[in-house]
Symmetry: C2
């Protein structure tokens, strides 16, 4: 049976930075499921028409096509009940939505403010005007005005407080071992790490040690992923 | 078997405003467990010496004495396995710690900034200098300087984003029915509601409808609890 994940790429086909796709790739590894990832660009809407969707991740698992990262986690738990659980029981799954809400509505905007000028540089040239138009409409200002690492880092520092509270008691958000709670948050750090060299977290912060643990998971898949700094001349392609 | 909860009170023995005690009272009701609450003041340290502790909640359940609100939730799930669960499986419990961290480190400071001058007014006169000294030391400034409803309400608005994300999908933080996730957040709203008339949430906000549902739970125990506005002349006792 074939299993294919459409995965956002940037200036290099192997530069994969979508936080939502990272959630899914980590979730598949968590379950020990192999996957073939297929590089996709923001503007390749036609390539996803078969799924009646216009964003990644899109997972094609044999005869099943599933869109939306959280729906894919739900699907994987349902389709592979004998593999390690991602979301857990109904209360656990509901609380994962609180973490997801915090990540997407508070943490991601803080990181976005910090790295957005690196991000646009890492996006494939053919996607840049699409990205700029959609994001400037969303933010209500030019990317250059939205960009504010000082403000972003300060917001991120505050946004990491719940995670620090957890790490005072356990190694992972989901307890003694990582799970969907961890992947939801870590996906956004993989996003930043892929496109930017910005130091988002001080090495004295307990979050730093958690990030190191997350980078080591599943054969070091996070640590080994291609970064913008691995691409020769990447900063001169604008 | 007797079950006693030491519960913080203010200028009236029946004014019970501790967010941590509210968690426990809601948790006991969730499990259908009766409890006798005992009014306690911040400075009655001697009354808790038997528990080798100096803060409430303290639960005395027959021969068991348990301190710390989260430990009490854990204890109740362990001691009463045949009643509705509060924390759930290990992953669910771990994710509840993320919510707890968010509530205590982000939401509570925002509410505190908004209501602190009402709070000091609601505290028993004999406790006020203790409260002022410990909090001014914690905040690093006078209560009057820390007090900033405009700043607090703006921080609270941002802090409610994860909850709004959840409420777009379900009625309660824990899903279709309330659980520990809901009580952890709602305890802080009971704290504010008990001591202040401040409108913390617009009635157009989905959080408002959730608050209304929470106030109705368990026979309307939140809605029926004594508020500062129910106490004649409360604002002239300073």
């Amino acid at each position: 049976m074939s299993r294919v994940l459409y995965d956002l790429c940037g200036i290099d086909d192997e530069l994969r930075f979508s936080p939502y796709c990272w959630r899914v790739k980590l979730a598949l590894a968590h379950k020990g499921l192999e996957v073939e990832t297929r590089a996709w660009n923001f503007t390749d809407k036609q390539a996803l028409a078969f799924a009646d969707h216009d964003k990644v991740p899109v997972l094609v698992d044999g005869d099943e096509t599933v869109t939306d990262s959280f729906e894919i986690l739900r699907y994987l738990d349902r389709a592979y009940p004998d593999t390690p659980s991602l979301l857990g029981d109904p209360a656990a799954e509901a609380r994962a939505l609180y973490i997801k809400g915090h990540v997407e509505r508070v943490m991601a905007p803080a990181i976005m403010r910090t790295i957005i000028m690196d991000l646009i540089n890492a996006i494939h040239p053919k996607d840049r005007s699409y990205f700029r138009e959609t994001r400037e409409k969303r933010f209500g200002c030019r990317l250059e005005e939205f960009h504010s690492p000082a403000k972003g880092l300060s917001q991120l520092d505050a946004a990491l407080e719940p995670l620090r509270g957890v790490l005072a008691q356990s190694d992972f958000i989901d307890g003694e071992a990582p799970g969907a709670g961890d992947y939801l948050v870590f996906g956004n750090f993989m996003w930043a790490r892929s496109v930017s060299n910005a130091d988002l977290v001080s090495n004295a912060d307990p979050v730093y040690a958690w990030l190191e643990r997350m980078l080591d998971l599943h054969g070091g898949m996070g640590r080994e992923a291609l970064r913008i700094s691995d691409i020769s001349g990447a900063y001169s392609q604008e």
